[in-house]
Every structure is written in structure tokens, then in C-alpha cells.
């Protein structure tokens, strides 16, 4: 079969090249040195503040809130969006399956992800999810697309993404995030750092190309 032939040929060429090289007979086997910084140095308050600051630099909107106030916070943000929407039909929100029902504001028109079509995602006012990890230094939200985090396209097609993160989920450095994600390595993972953007025209940053143009993050304290 041509495929096995190609595979064998490529592997054979790789092996013969490595053999020809000076170093090939004795590739380094000692563990590699990783002298970069693994752990952050900030306390939890500084870490959360840095996370919020970095998100804002990406033009994301950040709301600090607490468990008793979360419902209202989400409702307020949704309410503001609605008043700006000029769609002929009443706006509705998509909520990721598994999102805690107790956090949903009662005033809003809600549709669960599992009952939404692609067309719904395209027309909705926005999508509401939780996430797995936040990275302070880079202002990144990581979704592993489990319960409450939505499928990958659910957080992509709508124009606005509302995401709730508990402050305990925020780490400082990228390596710390990878430590937390180690058990999820084969899940689909999406790292989101601000709204989608491009600088392809004269290096001018334009927010919102194909993914959500708005990102709202709710920082949920303990």
C-alpha cells in the first residue's frame, strides 16, 4: 500500500539522517533542564487583580461578584446588552448544559445549549458558561468543554461570551495552568484571551472577527 510505503520511506530517511549526524549515536538522555519559572509569587488577591487587569487590556469586561450576588450581576450585564439590541425578536441567551441553574437570572429569556441549533447560536444575544482555569499573567480563560463549559462551537458562534470563573480557579503562570490541566490533556481545550481580534490590516488591532466580539467575565469570590 502506498501509505505504508510512504511511511516506511520517511522513517527510514529520518533514521539514516540521524545516524549520519555526529550526535546521532548518542542523543542526550539525561532529563532536560527546565529553569523557567513554574510557580507564581503573588498572593491570591494580587493574582486576581492581575487577572482582571490583563482581561481589561484585551477589552474584556470584568465584574467582581460573590455567590449571593452572582445572579444579579449576570442579570445586570444581560439587561444592558438587551437594551442595546435592536433585533426585531426578543433577545435570548444560550446557556451551556450543566451550568448551575441557581446562578441563572430569572428575568432573562434562556435557552439551554442542548436545545439550540447553529442558527440559534448565530442569532442569540450571547452565551453563558463556566470555565476550568484562569491564567493571571496572560489574562486567559481555559475551557475544557465539560459540564457547564459548552461545546467548542457554543462559545464561538455567538457575538458575546459571558463566563463565570471562581477566583480559586485562577493561577498565576502558564506552567501552573498546565499542572491543573494535566488530567484533561486529551479533552478538547480552548484557551481564550480576550475577544477574537486581528491586526492583519496595518497592524491595527480590531476586536471581533469571527469569534465573539464581546467577552464578559464574572470573577466569583469565595
Amino acid at each position: 500500500m502506498a501509505q505504508n510505503e510512504a511511511r516506511d520511506a520517511i522513517l527510514a530517511r529520518i533514521r539514516s539522517s540521524i545516524k549520519q549526524s555526529r550526535i546521532g549515536f548518542d542523543p542526550p538522555s539525561a532529563p532536560m533542564e527546565r529553569n523557567y519559572q513554574r510557580l507564581g509569587s503573588r498572593d491570591s488577591k494580587e493574582r486576581v487583580e492581575l487577572f482582571a487587569e490583563r482581561l481589561r487590556e484585551y477589552d474584556a469586561r470584568v465584574t467582581f461578584t460573590t455567590p449571593p450576588d452572582l445572579c444579579d450581576s449576570i442579570g445586570q450585564v444581560m439587561g444592558k446588552v438587551q437594551s442595546h439590541t435592536q433585533a426585531p425578536r426578543a433577545p435570548f441567551w444560550i446557556v451551556a448544559d450543566g451550568f448551575p441553574a441557581g446562578w441563572l437570572p430569572s428575568q432573562q429569556s434562556i435557552r439551554w445549549e442542548s436545545s439550540a441549533t447553529v442558527d440559534d447560536l448565530n442569532r442569540c444575544a450571547g452565551v453563558l458558561t463556566i470555565c476550568s482555569v484562569g491564567i493571571a499573567i496572560t489574562g486567559t480563560i481555559v475551557l475544557q468543554h465539560g459540564q457547564g463549559e459548552g461545546k467548542r462551537q457554543t462559545t464561538l458562534i455567538p457575538d458575546r461570551h459571558l463566563c463565570v470563573i471562581r477566583t480559586a480557579q485562577i493561577v498565576e503562570t502558564v506552567p501552573e495552568a498546565f499542572d491543573r490541566l494535566a488530567t484533561a490533556a486529551t479533552h478538547p481545550l480552548t484557551f481564550i484571551s480576550g475577544p477574537s481580534a486581528t491586526a492583519d490590516i496595518e497592524m491595527t488591532r480590531i476586536r471581533g472577527v469571527h469569534g465573539p466580539r464581546q467577552l464578559d467575565v464574572f470573577l466569583l469570590g469565595e
Partner: protein, 476 residues
Amino acid sequence: MTVRVGDSASAPSFQKAALPLLDDSQLRKNVRHATEVIQRKRALVAGELPDWQALRDAASAIKERTLLRLDEYLLQFEAACTAAGGRVHWARDAEEANRIVIDLVREQDAAEVLKIKTMTSDETGLNRALEERGIHPHETDLAELIVQLGKDRPSHIVVPALHKNRSQVREIFREQMHLPNLGDSPQDLTDAARRYLRERFLRVKTAIGGANFLIAETGSVCIVESEGNGRMCLTMPDTLILLAGIEKIIPTFRDLEVFLQLLPRSATGERMNPYNSIWTGVHPGDGPRNFHVVLLDNGRSPILADDEARQTLQCIRCGACLNTCPVYRQTGGHAYGSTYAGPIGAILTPQLQNLQHAQSLPYASSLCGACYEVCPVKINIPEVLIHLRGRITREQHSSLKPEALGMRIVASVFRSRRRLETAHRLAQLGQKPFVSDGWIRRLPGELSAWTNVRDLRAIPKQSFRQWWKETHHGAK
């Protein structure tokens, strides 16, 4: 086996290709502006990380070690990806890769495909091959869309349309998208692209892309992007086909923690780019049902044998070397006649083709070293350039070439004090016909390239050693 790297086999030499570009003041202005902006941003965010050098060291070491066991890692990737529901294909050269991709597209009866930006597909000439089979590719990265609609070529590996400014983009979009009243602000142009592409994202069911990282341990793929066109292509279609060079492998999931710090900061000067997608094979109920990875050799495996130049394959395509290069700054990417422009292109393009083509590229550098300084995986590009110049001289050029003869004569002069001192006297006398008022304004032959734009001060009557003999004679 025919290795192909874009159209570089038929491209003119760098020197020739540079000429019209040097006369294009608009293009040069666009290139200067874009590279200065990215450079400034890169330097800021790279400087922010106190462990930047340690990250570079780690990235370089990971890549180096991976290359020395590349066969094992590729097999590991294939096994893990296959176990997760993906299919792995192997392509010896560009033509084989294109054939595999086209066959997979035809299995879906697709007449059009979405494309995520992939320089590897430009390397193999995939778009042309698709069109020849009646399959229309829709480029979805904004810059690639500009290049495709403008019937242009990419000039930068990260920002392929950086040589175009807003009014040039507006003209292309006006005509090709039939939008006579389109404004020329980047916002207007981006909105136009969003509307133009959204309909296609929702309709077209097959996508083709590249990969930033293939993870051997898990069989996962990582794609780094900004606009969300990548996520669209990775999640909306039924079928996803990725074309990736064999050097894109990294051993473990954890290794990403290094590269995801280095790549965005080096490429676009962001702390993190808006979207990174990592996934493993097929995820039931989420994303494509058919997932293929085509592993492309196309001249890469022989490079592993060259101890000095193997580091070329460590490249993660961040483009930082292009942005900082004073030569790229003058000409932009088209002068390099290849998918891969700038310093990395000058070492990668000729090597992929076993030095049979693109022989002028290793000379398209003043060896200033700026590229090495910014490279996130520490490829010593000047060192590789010099090494390739040596290989080209030894393997490709006739030893009777005038330059080679001249170099041998000069070397022979330098091997003997007596010959050197005679040469000094000959030069001091021989220059006379060319000197006026203490300056040489025109030299013959190849050396006229010097005097075209620079005068040369006449050779002084007395060389240093002649003066020394006169003043310090007997002092040893």
C-alpha cells in the same frame, strides 16, 4: 520524489527579485510600519518575562531532543491520534501530500473547502492543485483572504498581507466582494470579511488547515490563532484535514507550557493570542467526525543529518526574525521567492531543496545577528547561513568561478608575508588610474556595486606595516 517549496524552484535570484521591490516605496513603507509595530510589541512582552532566556533554552532543548528521536515521536503520535479516532497519513513530498488531501476531499464530494492559514499548504502549492481538480478553497484568515482575493502571494509567515495597506485592501474587497461603498478603516474591512466568511463557515463542510504543534504523547494537535477562523474550521465542518511538517512534533502535553509562552509573544507581541485550540482525534458530539493529519516530509528528513544546520527544523514559525531583519525590512517577503521569507526562509528554503534551488538566499543577509537574538528557539541563523554558503561553494559552484578564483588568490596572498607586502605595493600603485582628489569614484566589474552608491577613499601611500617598519624598525 520532487520537493517543492512554493514556486521557489523557478524564482529569480534574491538580488534580481529585490530590485523592483526596492523601487516600490508604498510597499516598503507598509513593510517598515508593520514590522516596527510588531517588533516594538514583541520586545515589550518578551522583556516582561524574567525567565525569557530560560524559556528559550528550554524550547531549544525540547526541539533539539525531539529531532534526534523524530522517528519514535512520529510513531507515538500516529498511534495516539489513531487510537483517538483520527487518521494519520504520510507524504514524502508536496505532490503526494496534495494527492492525499484531494482524495480525502473527494471522498466527501466537496466542491469547496474552508482553509485555515497554513504556510505548509503554500509550500506544497495545495490551492492550485485543488483548483485544478475543480475544488474551490476559501481562505479564512483575513490576511490570507486578502492575498487570495488579490491574486497575490504571501509575503510574511505570520502576517501574509503585511505588504498591503488599508486602501489597497479596500480596492481588493470592493471588487471581489462587490461592495462599491466599502470604507477603508480596518474596522470596515474586517467587518466585511466577517460577513463574507460567516455564510461560508455555516455552509461548507470540509476544512483544511495546518498545525502549530503535534503532541506525541497524546496524539493531540494545537492550533494558535487570533481571529476565530481557526476555531470555526476546527469545529463546524464534518471533515477536517491538517497538513503538517514532520518537525511540528513535540513530545509531551506539558511541553506546550513553554511554547505557548514563547510563540504569541514572539509572533504578534501578545501575552497570549486570543485562541489556542488543543484537541485529540475525534470528540463525539463536538466537532468534526472525520479527522485526518497528513505528515509531510518534503525535504525535511535529510536536514537532520547536518549537525550545523539541523537546528533549522526547530523553527516554530513565529516570524520574529522577519520583523527584526534589516534586509527583510527593505524588500519585504516577495524577494525571497519562497513560502518562507526572511532569515528563516533564507536557511530553510534552500535546504528543503537540497541546495538545488534558492542558492542566492543564504547570501541575502548582512549577518547582523538580529534574528538569532530574537529567535524563541535559539536558531543561530547567522551560523547556519555561513554554513550553507560553505556548502553551496563546495557542492554547487565550479571552482573555476571568477569569485572562487579571486578568493583563492587572496587567500594565497594572505598565506605569505612577502606576497602580502608585494600586494600592498601593487594596490598602492595600481589604484592610480581610478583616483581623483584622494577618492575612488568608479571601480570596474563586480566592484562597481560598491562605487555605485559609495565612494572609496584612496589607498594611503603607506600601509600600517610600512609605517611600523619605518618607525619601529629593530624593535621586533
